[in-house]
Symmetry: C2
Subunit: 434 residues, 2 copies
């Protein structure tokens, strides 16, 4: 088998066999196939896509490039949840405790934020003392005991994907639906879970700008799950404005706490409940989705989800008191208000710009090695559809240093559109796939 | 300027500026841009092509990556001829002496053969003593004195193309019309010529299998020439059977000698005369193409083209007597006849298979470092349209070793199609572009 022949066949739109994809991925991981051949293959894949069979084969081969966790000694249907990344998206910290409180074992393996979207691990680490670097044994033990554990992805999971992702990043081959789908699913499928709920974000703050692309990505991932015999459902949800009001790690933890105490934003509460309900349903705790929705709401309302979250925080070394007493969380030292230039209706809040401003103030990384500042971020005062007066507060920036502050403020100010007429209401959950 | 952004723009079908192409080519040549980014760019170019402006810009940038010859001290319009490569294509050794004998200065800078097509330098070196490794000063002096000189391409000409070509070869990005056109033209435009006649081969023995692709390639190269202010014309010619009867280096030299002595095959004579006429016309020796055709024929008929070739052979260290006494050329030690399995008409001769068989016997290289055997090759006894009897000779293989002989014989035997009806006559010169 010659690599160049496989590139030529992919270039010509032919289907490669699983053995051929294995040859490519294993050869690349071992260093036998050089970067320059793999990048040509990736670009040809960008243009010609993958068949369903190629997609599941490619995913499985990447999954098998590293360690595959086994959680079969833990009873129950293990369910994880994954989001393709949004601004202000802290749903994992809400839906996971709800699902766990309802009896679903939730082995939540999360990533860190890069670019304008935040990462679950970064948010959790804003809680003083919280540790995500557990050993696998600690992870299993906590999952068995509490039904929920948060850890980071180990380097041993899908190393082929890690190498491929780094190459895609510098060769203009990131935005390929089969490559995105296989990258996400190879990691998730290696984590020993039985089912997965996906939140595919679409809109100006998401990776996918168009609903048709989000649908294709969701379909690709659900299809991979089906062929690898895992239950996978995907919600396609709106990311044309930040989710909730808080953007920034400690600020988002505060909003999580409020939401788990039934005082959270409507959109965040609604989406977290629906994601939790899907986890409960796929986890076979209930036999219908409606029962699962009812159970999710009950577990939120009766305080057991919040209690579960506090247990988990304590178990992972964090101070659960910080969830009630926000002065124990990292706090910003300065605040700046962004005012509305005129009266009217908020017709758009460019989520990506809000995310980028928050990142620039220190809440996120532009490079992997950047250290983040958990205290900083943005709190929206209004959301799309609300009426504002000239000079009323649109949002507040929380900062600890003046560096990049003016630039961030400009970015945030420009992110708001104020128009004379009330915009149409938009759906939060747009579609369900799977 | 970031390389990945240029890849993304090419991937998206946008036009790059000359400065951006320069950044890419120079960065790649200097080593600042790694292979893996360039191969992604090349694959994106394969899919999205290049605009006319990009194509001439890219060619010029590659041309400027190395030495650019100046021949302005030599009087007259300097004209070269280039073929995209065929089987049995020895026209350069015939049209160049004709054009030179008609007064055109012909600085012929040629390549070596790779794969199933032969190279002009390899053919010339079958003449005992012939040297193509002249210095640039020797080259100029001979061009001034005799009006014709054959040398190989120096490593200093278009080094960016050399590196790019090696990368394309292993990344499945060879078959791209803008990349082929810019590769050929960057070298030719760096050679100090004023005009160029191109022979774009099409058919089963050529790189381009379809006439529409050959036309696009010809148009691309003619367009580059126009924008770089050089006169370029291209003939699109049939390569569905070998040109002439001889394939293999010394065998082809013999056929060249016969053709220059007015005893050559009709197709080879006709095409060589037309190419020479185009060189004479572009070289402004005559004011019309018809006059140029008449002059080319005269120079062939009056023996002056043959005399010119002998002068050049002698000047470059070769033994001109070998052109009259073929026993002085390298000769094969064995011969095998390939017989027709049945009576009928020759309806096809797969030129690529004949070329490959000849290469396997030692006439060509499969890798650059292979040493070729000048004596071996194939002599056809029949061409398409001729009537054969069962058992009559289709061609003869000339060999010096038995290695690969059976395999070559099988390949050659399978290359002939014998059918019951006489095939339609086919045109040799299919189109003129420019």
């Amino acid at each position: 088998m010659r690599t160049v022949d496989l590139i030529l066949r992919k270039r010509g739109g032919e289907e490669l066999s699983v053995e051929e994809l294995q040859f490519l991925v294993n050869g690349y991981t071992s260093g036998d196939i050089p970067d320059y051949q793999m990048s040509a293959f990736l670009m040809a894949t960008y243009f010609n896509g993958m068949t369903d069979r190629e997609l599941s084969g490619f995913t499985e081969v990447m999954m098998q490039s590293g360690e595959i966790l086994t959680l079969s000694d833990i009873p129950g249907v293990k369910v994880d949840k994954h989001s393709t990344g949004g601004v202000g998206d802290k749903t994992s910290l809400i839906c996971a405790p709800i699902a766990a409180a309802a009896g679903v074992p939730v082995p939540m393996i999360s990533g860190r934020g890069l670019g304008h979207t935040g990462g679950t691990l970064d948010k959790l680490e804003a809680i003083p003392g919280f540790r995500t670097d557990l050993t696998l044994d600690q992870f299993r033990a906590q999952l068995k005991e509490l039904g929920l554990c948060f850890i980071g992805q180990s380097d041993e999971i899908a190393p082929a994907d890690k190498r491929l992702y780094a190459l895609r990043d510098v060769t203009g081959t990131v935005e390929s639906i089969p490559l995105i789908a296989s990258s996400i699913m190879s990691k998730k499928m290696a984590e020993g879970i039985d089912a997965l709920v996906l939140d595919v974000k679409v809109g100006n703050g998401a990776f996918m700008k168009k609903q048709v692309d989000a649908r294709r990505l969701a379909q690709a991932m659900v299809g991979i799950g089906r062929r690898l015999d895992k239950k996978v459902q995907a919600l396609i949800t709106d990311m044309n404005q930040p989710l909730g009001y808080a953007i920034g790690n400690a600020l988002e933890v505060m909003e999580v706490s409020q939401t788990l105490q039934k005082a959270g934003p409507a959109d965040l509460t609604r989406l977290s409940l629906e994601l939790a309900a899907r986890m409960i349903f796929l986890g076979k705790i209930t036999s219908t989705l409606d029962e699962a929705r009812k159970l999710a709401e009950d577990r939120l309302m009766d305080g057991s989800a919040y209690a579960k979250f506090k247990q988990v925080v304590a178990a992972q070394g964090g101070n659960p008191q910080a969830l009630d007493r926000f002065e124990l969380l990292p706090n910003a030292t300065g605040m700046r208000e962004i005012l509305s230039p005129r009266a009217g209706f908020v017709s758009a809040i460019m989520a990506e710009d809000i995310g980028r401003a928050s990142q620039m103030m220190g809440a996120g990384r532009s490079r992997k090695e950047d250290v983040i500042d958990p205290a900083v971020g943005v709190i929206l005062e209004v959301k799309i559809g609300e009426k504002v007066e000239a000079g009323s507060v649109l949002c507040r920036l929380y900062y600890t240093g003046e560096e990049n502050l003016d630039e961030s403020a400009d970015l945030v100010e420009d992110a708001f559109r104020i128009s004379g007429t009330r915009p149409d209401e938009r759906e939060l959950i747009l579609e369900v796939v799977g």
